[in-house]
């Protein structure tokens, strides 16, 4: 199943996915570490509840899709106990995702999926704490605001994800902020927007990056 969710993540617009088995928990997960294991379990329990209740009324239920302002959450039940949950950008091509899921699930083997549960890598720092207090709080808040101007609603998730990765790779400090800036520019993807973000940060914080 890990291979399956890694393949799914390569589809444009897919933020990540995870597999869930009732009574066992999360089977695999490649969502950003911002999506904590206990939250994913809670989400999966609610989606399983919807799918189970849905099948009582509609035995031909194939999937559950919830559209939120920032993201789309898609739950594809796999047999009785398992489900594959994908989190995507609202602009995703649903036909492409459905086709990819159908192809991936053709080879799905529930027994093989029962590998030991994989929890997401625990962050060494709490991004909320870094942004809340200490010498990095103000520059990080400014960078997050500027990223939101450039990227829109997904900025919060992208920023926290990059922040955790940045803090895990080095001691978080003012002098290492350029590395965070570079990482965020890579995450933006669009060179024009990345350059705009770099200039905004440079003009307000004097952080240069590469």
């Amino acid at each position: 199943m890990q291979q399956m969710i890694d393949d799914l993540k390569s589809i444009p617009g897919v933020i990540g996915a995870f597999g869930y088995r009732a009574k066992q928990g999360i089977l695999c997960n490649n969502l950003p570490s911002l999506f904590k294991a206990e939250r994913l379990t809670e989400i999966a329990k609610n989606l399983s509840k919807i799918a189970t209740a849905g099948r009582l009324n509609f035995p031909d239920l194939t999937e559950v899709l919830i559209n939120f302002e920032e993201s789309v959450v898609l739950c594809r039940p796999l047999g009785v106990n398992d489900c594959l949950i994908t989190v995507c950008d609202p602009s995703i091509n649903m036909n492409l995702l459905a086709l990819s899921l159908n192809l991936a699930l053709e080879d799905y083997n529930p027994a093989a999926a029962a590998a030991p549960p994989v929890a997401p890598a625990a962050p060494r720092v709490d991004p909320a704490q870094l942004r809340k207090s200490g010498p990095l709080a103000r520059p990080l808040q400014s960078m997050a605001q500027m990223l939101a101007k450039v990227m829109g609603p997904m900025a919060g998730i992208v920023f926290d994800d990059a922040l955790v990765a940045w803090a895990a790779g080095q001691v978080p400090s003012l002098s290492s902020l350029p590395a965070l800036l570079d990482s965020l520019c890579r995450e933006i993807g669009d060179p024009e927007k990345a350059e705009r973000f770099r200039q905004l940060v440079h003009s307000q914080l004097a952080v240069n990056g590469n």
């Binding site: 609610n46 509840k49 849905g54 509609f58 899709l65 919830i66 939120f68």
Partner: protein
């Protein structure tokens, strides 16, 4: 004609709507166009509440709609409306995107006129 009757009449005329139920978030059935709406009303309430719970857990801002996709394109679509949930069973030949867009615009108009009325 009461506001609820007008609401039901308007929904019945929507292209692509096969059945609908409007429930309060405590499960109370408000209006419908089914001979036996109880099961669907319970499902719509449970799905709506679970979607709101997911929204809270994940920290998203707005729950827009939920789709229980069924074979032959007869999906159940659930929309939040303040403290109510509207569940719509779409016809097999309906264009789902158009139906969702139309219902959203209708609900948005309701919200705006409700706010304007104070």
């Amino acid at each position: 004609m009461s506001g609820i009757e007008r609401f039901a009449q308007h929904l019945s005329k929507f292209k692509g709507v096969e059945h609908f139920v409007l429930t309060r978030n405590d499960g109370q059935l408000v209006t419908h166009n089914l001979p036996d709406p109880d099961d669907l009303a319970s499902l719509v309430t449970l799905c709506g509440l679970s979607a709101l719970a997911i929204r809270k857990t994940i920290g998203f801002s707005q729950f827009k709609h939920l789709i229980c996709a069924c074979a032959e394109h007869r999906s159940l679509i659930i929309f939040p409306l303040d403290k109510y949930f509207l569940g719509i069973r779409q016809k097999a030949d309906a264009n789902q995107a158009e139906l969702i867009d139309g219902v959203n615009r209708f609900l948005q108009r309701l919200i705006v006129s409700h706010k304007a009325a104070g």
